[in-house]
Symmetry: C2
């Protein structure tokens, strides 16, 4: 039964474009998995276009009718970028889930926007290729959503964020037009770089319907170790030495605060880790190399050298695939949210030479503000990208705006970013206005209005029409 | 003496912003090196701002007065993007030539836009770092110009084009405002990605005044070889095998047609090369590696294997630095322009699995069109980027537009680009309109008008106001 919020005329027009099969209405929407944000499915109506042409017609219809339209991929965003309100229309890419072609020789793949990262990686593995972007939500995150948020993740330090992986895009626009720039080459400078605007704009300018990706060869055998370290400086030194070791290629350098490791290992019952010495930081290192075993030898020898130099408190070398998986579970699980629910998440980048300074200052600022605040950290060390959870004995969800300025203080002067890889969404909108300043916000608004003159596309996200 | 084209009032206002020292007038302009395009110095007036604030004031003045303003870096562009007409104002970045800071630990550098690539590399070398973009014009090309054209060059296949190297930008705008996004981190998603618009827009939207670059470690010792090959397929196979060889990292794979090698070696008198067997293609390979010599051994063993497999006609291994330099001279010299002046240049990208097909078809199309046309090729094989010179017994400069459709035929369908890395400038404007189509051109025009409502910025380049 259609919700009363949607005029019959609008529903009829939508059905004419998509057919009944291309729509989900009321309960059909409510029964879906809302993903990371309970607000994702608040809208009672979902359009499921089969291609860019249908998507563009839906956008034009919404632009004309003044109906807000929210693009959704895997609904795994962490900043509320896919959340909806009653009366809005969800535009789901779930029917556009075809890996259209993979070209092994020139190392590119063309996919519809609704393909998940895990599905594409499955298709690429037999060819010895990978996207070069990996993240915890790989099973649900779609390539379209990853492009729209310029996702980064674990491997950005060597292969870049999605912006570096994208060769071509197809984008449905509110004008009903389709921007088609399906280049399969890296060097392509054909006038103003329009497609770049859509990468990282979180569905506020258009809906990405097709993506051409540049692929990279799989690095070979993977070897993993967890280094436990007395300080961030030690973590950086160990990372750099492993990175420079001949025969090994650094594939991951995931940072965790000691309290994250302790809490998560206890929560998941990972014996391997509950026994290790308490450390300021853990660094989960992955190297790749050829079959000769040189990479593993290089990793172990760098860790031995670090230990001799007093940089290492302890070290865990998984003895089998299950133990290796457990180390990654500790990295990717977020036990702190179960044990102390109602914490606040922040996602910042700091040039790594300033990261220790930033974290020390942050600790001091938090303590001064409220002695009851604790913080936990995981992140991608080589990019200086840390995800912070700040919590207290009781849930503090409503204190986001109060704590944000404490977390963001000094970041701009350090050359960092208050918004690294999770996006602005709803969550960081107010912070963005302060960050970009009046001039920056005005420019963003004029660009937004150019592509979405009636402000129907992902309304309220990233940038608003203002007063 | 000021040219009569510039009203005294405009000159007075300009002098008030810049001082007399910040201006070059008449002969002071004409006596400069025009660079690659004789039209670069046709304008009789040059503004030389000392910083972004001055640049922004000059732009606002020009926007108000309706005076065309053409940004110039090293004047080494190949598509006429910096050419000027009498009555226009040149905005030179030559006084903004400071390497402001280099941060070795987080691998970033902040430079003013007028710094040349060679100067920056000189500053970086002692720290073991490099920009990761290299091109023939390294001595004159400025970082600002390289960002404005999204330069690619020799190393793009492993480190990306300038877009991938840029972390932050400062841009002077026609509104008199300055866009300041001087991030030093890779993961930075702070709202709509405005700075991306300026990368590759060839000075048509704003003037880049400062650049923050992501750096990469220098790869170690370099080893060079020239492989002479019977076919493009053989060249690709050899490149892939060297790329996959353990202990060596591929740093360059420069392709040359056999006729380019023969003509250039003869013209430069390089004995090393005048003796080799005639080949369809030459592939200049560079690998880097550690001090162990493993990289050189890997390169030589892959070439030996290729020879056994019948993929190699001949091979030149330079015995010393001078011989190595000579191989690069052959790659970077453009003897064909001296021997047969008046040829046409094109710069296209093709997915490398389709490159052989494209070149075979091109040869056929050219022969069918005019049996007197010859073609020469150099390029960056791993990116499928080839630079073509097409010439005849007599100069054919005025036949650019006639030959362009023959060169560009089928490129879009192959997923290639008609404009790889040299930019649109004046030269490819008409081709861009065909390539982008009516909708694409309209979008570009609206974006252009947003940043430059009076169309004074680099007038006539890339995209025009239309009819």
């Amino acid at each position: 039964m259609p919700s009363p919020e949607y005029p019959q005329e609008f529903l009829d027009a939508l059905t004419a474009i998509l057919g009944r099969r291309g729509l989900r209405i009321g309960e059909e929407v409510a029964l879906l998995d809302p993903g990371t944000n309970p607000g994702n499915l608040r809208a009672g109506l979902m359009a499921r276009p089969a291609d860019a042409a249908e998507a563009a017609r839906v956008l034009a219809l919404c632009a004309g009718a003044g109906v807000g339209v929210v693009p959704q991929g895997g609904r795994t965003g962490l900043a509320g970028g896919a959340s909806t309100r009653p009366g809005e229309l969800i535009l789901s890419l779930d029917r556009m889930d075809r890996v259209e072609s993979v070209d092994a020789s020139s190392r590119s793949a063309t996919v519809q926007a609704g393909v998940t990262l895990a599905r594409l990686e499955e298709a690429l593995a037999p060819l010895g290729l990978t996207v070069g972007v990996d993240l915890g939500a790989r099973g649900s995150a779609t390539l379209g959503g990853m492009v729209a948020t310029n996702a980064g993740g674990i491997e950005a330090f060597r292969y870049g964020t999605m912006r570096e992986r994208v060769l071509g895009l197809e984008v449905a626009l509110c004008s009903g037009e389709i921007l088609t720039e399906l280049s399969r080459v890296r060097k392509d400078n054909a006038g103003l770089p329009l497609r770049q605007l859509f990468i990282g704009s979180e569905g506020t300018l258009g809906v990405i319907t097709r993506v051409v990706l540049s692929l990279v060869p799989i690095g070979g055998t993977r070897h993993t170790a967890l280094a436990l370290l007395p300080s961030l400086d030690a973590a950086i030194a160990v990372m750099r030495s492993v990175e420079a070791a001949p025969g090994a290629s650094l594939a991951a350098a995931e940072l965790m605060s000691g309290n994250h490791i302790a809490l998560t290992a206890r929560s998941l019952g990972i014996a391997q880790l509950t026994a290790v010495a308490p450390a300021a930081f853990g660094l989960l290192l992955v190297v790749t190399g050829d079959q000769s075993g040189a990479a593993q030898a290089a990793l172990e020898s760098e860790l031995a050298r670090a230990s001799e130099a007093g940089l290492l408190l302890d070290c865990v070398l998984p003895k089998n695939a299950a133990e290796e998986r457990d180390l990654w579970r500790v990295r990717e699980d977020w036990a702190v949210d179960r044990v102390h629910p109602g914490g606040l998440w922040y996602d910042v980048s700091v040039p790594i030479d300033r990261l220790a300074l930033y974290l020390t200052d942050l600790e001091r600022r938090l303590a001064r503000h409220d002695g009851g605040l604790a913080h936990y950290l995981v992140g991608h060390l080589a990019d200086g990208n840390v995800h912070l959870t700040i919590n207290a004995a009781v849930p503090i969800t409503e204190r986001y705006a109060e704590v944000a300025p404490i977390v963001y203080a000094g970041l701009k002067e350090l050359g960092g970013s208050f918004s690294a890889e999770h996006g602005i969404g709803l969550e960081k909108r107010a912070s963005l206005e302060r960050w970009a300043g009046e001039g920056g916000v005005r420019l963003m608004r004029t660009v937004k209005a150019l592509f979405d003159p009636t402000w129907v596309l992902n309304p309220g996200k990233v940038i608003t029409r203002g007063s």
